[in-house]
Symmetry: C2
Subunit: 215 residues, 2 copies
Amino acid sequence: MSDIRRRRVPRPVREQQIIDAAIRVFARRGYHAASVDEIAEHAGISKPMVYLYLDSKEGLFLAALRREAERLLAVFRAAAVPAHSPELRLRAGLLAFFTFVTEHRDSWVVLHRQSSEPSPAITAELARSRRALLAEVTGLVRADIAASDGPARPDDDAEFVAYTLVGAADSLTDWMALHPGEPPERITLRLMNMVWVGMRNVLDGEVWTTPSQLP
Amino acid sequence: MSDIRRRRVPRPVREQQIIDAAIRVFARRGYHAASVDEIAEHAGISKPMVYLYLDSKEGLFLAALRREAERLLAVFRAAAVPAHSPELRLRAGLLAFFTFVTEHRDSWVVLHRQSSEPSPAITAELARSRRALLAEVTGLVRADIAASDGPARPDDDAEFVAYTLVGAADSLTDWMALHPGEPPERITLRLMNMVWVGMRNVLDGEVWTTPSQLP
DNA sequence: ACGTAACCTTACTCGCCAGTAAGGCTGGGG
DNA sequence: CCCCAGCCTTACTGGCGAGTAAGGTTACGT
C-alpha cells in the first residue's frame, strides 16, 4: 500500500508477513483445506518462498501457532499482575482475554478451533498452548486459595475451577459474536458476577446439596 | 465376531455400521485427514458401498453428525424433565451430558472438535447442533427465571448464562480426560456448586462490584 | 563497477484420495 | 429351480496440492 511497491523485502519482515497471511487463511479454511499457494498469494509472494523460510506447511502452522499463543499469554500475564487482589487479578485477566479475542479473532480461531489435526506435532503444540493458559489461571486460583483463610484444598480443585473458567470464557467468545455491541468490560463483569461466589464455594469446600431428595 | 460370518447385510444395518465406523475414524483423524477407504475398511466393506448408501464423504459426515447430535440432545432432554425443580433439572441435565461424553467420547469429539471445516453445509450443521443444545439450556435457565420472584430479566441474560454453562461443561470434558477416576456425579456436583449461586446473582441483576478501586 | 548473497519466480513432479464404471455373487419369492 | 433385486467387489480416472528443480534479478558491500 505504500508509495513504493516494495519488492525484495528482508527475510524477518517477510516471515512475519507470511505468518500474518497464514493466520488469515488457516482461520478461514482450517489446516487441511488451506493451501500454501493461497497463503503465499496473500503474502504477496510465491510458494517456494514459504518453503524456503518456513520449511513445510506444518512448520508454517506451528510458527503461526507459537507466535499467537505467545501474544495471548503475554497479554494475559501483563494484565493479571500480582500487584492486585485475587479478584482484581482475575478480572483483569478475563478482560485482557476478551479484548484479545475481540481484536484478533483470526488468531483466536487458529489457536482454539483446530483440534484433531493429523500431525502429532500440531496436536502437541495446540495442547501446550492451552495448557499454558490453564496453568496461568490455575496459578491465579491457587494464589487466591493461599490468600484465603480456609483449609488447604487439594490441587484438583484449583484445576477444576480453572477449567471451568477457561471453558466459560471460551464459549462466551461465541456469544460475543452474536452481540457485537457488547464491550469486553461488560462481559467480564457478568462472568465475574456469575463465577466469583461459586468459586469461593468450591475452594472453601462448601457443598451444594440437592434442595429436595433426588429422583 | 458372531459365529456366522455375516456377509450380505441388509441396508439399514449396514448404514449404521458405516456411520459407527465413520465416527471412530473422523474422531481420530479429523474430517479432511480421514479417508473414505479407511472408514469402509472399518465397516468391513469396500468404498463404493459407502457412496451407494451415503452419497459422498460430506453426506457421510453429515449423517454421522446428525445421528450423534440427536442422541446427545435426546439424552439431555430425557434427563432434564420439567417435573423437577429448576436446580434439579439443571443437575440432571449436566449429569446426563457428562455421562454421555464419558460413554461416547468419539461422538463427542466429532460433534464438537471439528470447526473450520471447508464445507458450508458441515459448518452449518455443526452450528445447528450446538445451538440446539444451547437453546435447551437457555430454556432451562429461562424457566428458572420465570419461577423466581425477581423482576423480568432480558433474554440476553439467560443466553449469557447458558453459554457460560455449556462452555464450562465442554472444557471440563478435557478435565475428565486428565482424571479418569472421577465419576460424572462428582463433576456435576462441583459444577453446580460453582455455578448455582452466581447464576442467581446474574439473573437477579445483582452486580459484582470491584472490592477496591480499579487500577 | 561488479560480484555475490539474498531475494524471488516459473514450471514442473508425484502421491494421495474422492468419486465411478462395470460388472460379479447370492438368496428369497414365484 | 431360476431369476432378479439388492448386496458387494476390483480396478480404474481425475484433480488437487505439497514439495522441488533450476535459474533469473536486484541491491549492497567493497
